[in-house]
Symmetry: none
Amino acid sequence: MRILIVGAGGVGSAAARIAVRREFFDRLIIADYDPARPQALVDELGDARLVAAQVDASSADSVAALIAEHGATHVLNAVDPRFVMPIFDGCFAAGVVYLDMAMSLSRRHPDRPYELPGVKLGDEQFAKEQEWKDAGRLALVGIGVEPGLSDVFARYAEDELFSEIDELGVRDGANLVVAGYDFAPSFSIWTTIEECLNPPVVYERGRGWYTTAPFSEPEVFDFPEGIGPVECVNVEHEEVLLMPRWTGARRVTFKYGLGDEFIEVLKVLNKLGLDRTEKVTVKGVEVSPRDVVAACLPDPATIGDKMTGKTCAGVWVTGTGKDGQPRSTYLYHVVDNEDTMREYNSQAVVWQTAINPVIALELLATGVWSGAGVLGPEAFDARPFLDLLGGAYGSPWGIQERTPA
Amino acid sequence: MRILIVGAGGVGSAAARIAVRREFFDRLIIADYDPARPQALVDELGDARLVAAQVDASSADSVAALIAEHGATHVLNAVDPRFVMPIFDGCFAAGVVYLDMAMSLSRRHPDRPYELPGVKLGDEQFAKEQEWKDAGRLALVGIGVEPGLSDVFARYAEDELFSEIDELGVRDGANLVVAGYDFAPSFSIWTTIEECLNPPVVYERGRGWYTTAPFSEPEVFDFPEGIGPVECVNVEHEEVLLMPRWTGARRVTFKYGLGDEFIEVLKVLNKLGLDRTEKVTVKGVEVSPRDVVAACLPDPATIGDKMTGKTCAGVWVTGTGKDGQPRSTYLYHVVDNEDTMREYNSQAVVWQTAINPVIALELLATGVWSGAGVLGPEAFDARPFLDLLGGAYGSPWGIQERTPA
């Protein structure tokens, strides 16, 4: 296996740091628009299988040419979702396996954005599903942590724990704190605003996909391993688009544990128009208000060593167990920032995203996973994935039984 | 009398609209940094006594030169408080009467900002009191509505209603709503941020002035004439600095009926550093975050026709009445936006501010009020002011008796 990682940012770098500890691949090409970034990573890791390269991720031709140049067999897209389509198309043209951790972007419904989906997350990719299937090529989409590990948990729950699933409720929460700041998000505020102010999507069998207003259906979810209760709200996320394609769940939701404080901040930014990206004129200069908000906050890339706490990703599954009794189970994965900083020099949120595509690549390399078409993680057997995660990769996951309603 | 109004914003324009209905002056020069603004006002009002001019309010020399050019005798400062000192100094240099509606800015105590005052509101002006007195020149400071009418009420209460005052509690509240906006402050957000995030100041006889944390001592005050209960909190305001200089009240406070929503907005702006005035670099351009916030919101001067409701300014006086009995009295002035829009094309909050300096100018023109030094409204007889307000100016004020505690 010859892997190409497109993007040497936080997640791409963490994926390389995780991969070099494994034997399943022959070569790993790390490419970025800025060639200094992958080169720094190659220098840091000192593994003879690594090569740095330059790529323009906005060009399918540039991606296909790089694949050909290095004879890559598998491509992991680790850049932001604006570049999904050119990389996806470049991989198809080059005839290699494609993996990503976020899917093609949505566009809101022009008239009724808070009721109906417009273009949904992943729609542009699924529109090309038949081509990939006919060509016998594989695109494994949404294989980060969320989407990704959450979808693996959904598959596992349906196969091994439940006979009937009422709801697959992805629930994400953390107790990460950054010392020395009144307010310091642990990830890009620009992206958080984008994600959280888009209309959240919900799936219900019989009704299909529909949207709601931002921050809808607030719920306090009690996260395990000391994180505790966090206020969660509906947020637009890929799992809601993926899980209904391969599971029989009646309802699929994604709720993000933003917490009261963060929700209030986002609501105020929206209310005052400070979330806008279109420039405004301020005493003769033109600026985007959202860029000003970002400029006033510390850079999340620089705060990993000031951060403490844990982050939790998981799926709360409710329905009927294999024994015919009501069952309520939370399958989860918790990562402590102190551990990932010490062992991988990566902060918890990006590390937890990056480990999953590396495991998927290993399962593809060994032939345990295989397929053709545009497939989510639910389309594959969950057990070997979870065995590697908690076993050889040393990052345990958990199952928590809850009292059924 | 030849009046120069510096600033053709909301308050300056409303003052001109009110003044042109009166006969007490010979000429009214309206000046602004942007000469188009006063010219539009002169065109709108069609009064031969009016002249438009250009001025740089940040320069005492520019102000003094304009005074000399037009032979102004009285200057009303109607720009934001950052420009108090250059206009104040320019008036002293030119030998004319100075009036303002907000005083020189405070600076917080370097070590214990929420316990001790640093530089207080008006300190820079009062530092020059002796010069003004010696020169026989008058600076009438804080003669808007709050400070201003509130201070007149305090004078009136002490002279005519109370033998002993325990507390002069300024209480300001409104039920104004702006249609079509999620959030549209009815007053300058720049000034509101300045006022509300500075440490509030409180006066107690024996202890003197001290400060607290922002939003301290929340209290629901029931405002008259249908406005009803509003959550009020301590806010830094000039009355607390002015009233103890000319009255014998044991305690002086200012509480602003911000309401829950506005308090939350201000807290978030502060938490994110968006209240800061120092410039930040945003993708190569430099802007003050607070200016960006102001640029994202509708201009308060332009939303009057979309606004409905009333605003109330007043002083809650508690102590011993002239009859020796405990007394609790709220002296207040309520303005309905519908009335001020219809009759003056000015929204209620700026109109309520602007009417008071016009009345003061009339009292100075007619010789009913006179003095030398840096004087607050409390230093003058309240009765003729209140008679003009409710009488010739047609804007009634009220006295509400409350049950003493």
